[in-house]
């Protein structure tokens, strides 16, 4: 027969009560914090939890970056789209100007509109976002297009000349990471997008205003002289016609591809964002499963533990009250 001494029964009862109390405490903690694993020792999955937390943190930071980059690219999209629109208008004016029914004075009036368009184009190329020039490459504190002048005329609108600032770094583009493996360029060098447009607008406006531009093709070098009318009237017409072609080239070769490219980058970011969201959700799901407490389960467990605690209290009280002294 097993002897059960007083110490044994008390020790047993006390340890049952203590264990049940600990369980009540554990489950009520789970319920109030909603978290099952709060320290590494709480689960063998601590390393896994830490890995998922990092993954989610990383995804959140990428999402953040993408949101900022998207607004940056959307801004560029708008600017390039405006540039495209005014170039279309410039072509209309040029076609009108190429008509030989107009005399030099009438062409001079058309020149005024092209001057406006040229200045607008330069302003678009020099646009800034959050205080930094978008198309300045990595040299974003200086406007990418500097204003110089033509030798002839010495003053006036036809004298204005815009030249891309070819300092080191201006041909770089900024890029950021949108996921661990994907880097996306944020901007393109300004010369590539706006260079040709500005050149042709200058050439066109000067032609309409009655000035030739040297060299006859390619990037203007700042030279050129006034046409003499009526001798040069036909030359002027040829110059204007040439500009129509150049306007087409500038649009087709530079502006439209850039819009497409911006659109493509935006789409890539959106795809990236969706993918990140997807993997964030699945990571979050796993994390919830292993780290967070299932409330129903925790509540049921708490109820069970409370019942067990009450039972152990009642048993303890009953057993300890029993003594032979009551019967002698």
């Amino acid at each position: 027969m097993t002897r059960v001494s007083e110490n044994q029964s008390v020790r047993g009862l006390v340890s049952f009560v203590a264990e049940n109390k600990r369980r009540v405490n554990e489950f009520s903690n789970q319920l109030t914090t909603g978290v099952k694993v709060s320290r590494p020792g709480d689960s063998i999955d601590a390393g896994v939890i830490s890995r998922y937390q990092q993954q989610i943190g990383r995804i959140e930071s990428y999402s953040n970056t993408i949101a900022q980059a998207k607004s940056y690219l959307t801004f560029q999209d708008e600017v390039v789209s405006q540039a495209n629109d005014i170039l279309v208008r410039a072509k209309e004016v040029a076609q009108q100007g190429a008509n030989e029914t107009l005399d030099a004075t009438a062409r001079g009036h058309l020149a005024e509109e092209i001057f406006q368009i040229r200045d607008q184009m330069a302003a678009l190329a020099n646009s800034s976002y959050q205080g930094k020039y978008v198309w300045g490459g990595s040299d974003d504190d200086d406007p990418p297009f500097d204003q110089l002048s033509y030798t002839e005329p010495a003053t006036g609108n036809a004298n204005k000349r815009y030249v891309f600032d070819a300092e080191p770094g201006t041909s770089n583009s900024k890029s950021i990471k949108v996921t661990d493996d994907i880097s996306v360029a944020l901007n393109s060098p300004g010369q590539k997008i706006f260079g040709a447009s500005i050149e042709v607008l200058e050439r066109l406006s000067r032609a309409l205003a009655g000035y030739s531009t040297t060299p006859a093709s390619g990037t203007p070098d700042g030279g050129g002289s006034a046409f003499t009318f009526p001798t040069d009237y036909h030359t002027q017409t040829q110059e204007i016609k040439k500009c129509i072609d150049l306007l087409n080239t500038a649009r087709d070769r530079d502006l439209i591809p850039e819009r497409v490219s911006i659109g493509g980058r935006l789409r890539r970011m959106e795809t990236g964002e969706a993918l990140l969201e997807l993997s964030k959700n699945s990571a979050q799901e796993v994390l919830n499963r292993i780290q967070n407490a299932d409330e129903t389960e925790a509540a049921a467990n708490l109820q069970q533990a409370q019942t067990a605690l009450q039972a152990s209290y009642s048993v303890t009280a009953k057993v300890l009250r029993l003594t032979i002294l009551d019967y002698v």
């Binding site: 001494s5 590494p40 990092q54 490459g137």
Partner: protein, 532 residues
Amino acid sequence: MTAQQALLANASNNIANVNTPGYSRRQIEIQTQVDPAALNGLLRIGSGVQLGQISRMTSSFLEASLRGVISNQGKAEVRNDYLARIENVFSLTGPQSTVGSALNDFFSAINQVSINPSSLDLRLNLQQTGEDLVSTIRTTYNEIAKGQDELDARVPQEVEAINAFTKQVAYLNGLIASREAVGVSAIDERDQRDTVLAKLSEKISFNAMELQNGMINLSLDNGFPLVSQQTARSLSTTKDPSFATGDLPNSLSDGILCYVVYNYGTDTEPSHLDLTKTIKNGEGSLAGVLQLRGYADPSNTSPFQADGELVTLAARIEMLTRTLLTNVNQAYRGGDENAGTPSFSEASSADLNGNPPGVFGLFDFEFGGIKDANNDGVASASDLAATGITSFSRMLKLGFSAPEEFAASRDSNPIPGSTSFQSGDSRNAQALLDLRNTTFGFALDNHSFNGTFDELYNATVSTMGSMKASAQIELDVAKSSYLTASNKRDEISGVNLDEEFANVIKYQKAFQASARMIKTAKDLIDTIVSLI
């Protein structure tokens, strides 16, 4: 009647000691009295009852196994308590930053800076996350180092308690032997000695051997006699052991770890015997302290050559720190990639003011001496070694102090020897970002890990978690085996009040019956006398 009285007295003594720790219930043996004279007669009616010996109801086997589980519990408790504290710096919830979250924030801030490298706001954010990262690394390391220091400071206290207990055992050995040699029972002393042994076993595990004369000899696993007969050998702790020839192992906080020794020599000319390793490999709270704290042979001077859980954790953090100081700084500063052959004396990156970063430009450490010992412009492991610093995690700081000093741009001048940098260039920041997914071969003394920063941290959390979880399991197991072992012991040695009360009634009845016998005898005599 005297016999019944003695039995009653014993029962009341048992009842009185029902709650005395270590008390073993006593039983008085009673036997029929043998009367040699009666042998000559025809009938042997018997001549009554006689008191035999008082015996302790105890089992030396159960006592020994109880001591074993007490030792296990002592060790498990220490390990569990300290690991629970360290565990908090690797928290998986809450707002406080951990090394893992700080790393993530830092790299995120670098990516943000790339969007607009000359924005001071973004740079300020980067600087703050950088400060946060280095301070989190420092705090994490220091918490672990502090844990080691506290454990180290606990060693002498534990040793003192052990010495007090072994002295008591030796003293009680003397009492028991001298009493029992002259036939006097020494059961109270034996109870006391068992209690002291139980207390001692909470601190340290030992082998106990009872001798013929009732004394108990105690020895450690390597045979070192803690108590032999009436002599207790007092252990001591030292940070200057006589067996060490050169520099001693450093602690994580650059101190010296103490050794548990026995001094065969004198105080002035010590001759130490190292018992640290033997005790560490045993059980008991001192073993728990030493196991967590770690132990290194005197010839190993690096704090990370020691074993022990805390050292493993700290080594992980230190490997991270050293990689930040070397590989990351190298990538950050770069060599002029346009200079043909890499010429590291010229940096390939620059800050917002166009100044190249220093050799320890991104992550730096507090140190008054020369940091780039070989002056090659590259932050390398040999430069770190040359400083003589044992743990860099304690001194880690951010390499730049103003937001514009973060070097985000790269040289875009193709001419060797000439450089040009633009404020809007973020290629260096992007290059740094690549390090996040770079696999490094982290190595430090006998610790090594292959993986990314994140993987290193996750593995550390995993290690921490399994250490803590296993300490918890050990503790749970030790507690339940303690319950079982003490129940087993109490099954034999414990006092059962019901039993004692029943005995009291039994003895009382016997006493009454004996008294009645006297009255009956008196009545008989009275009858005879009245006949006369």
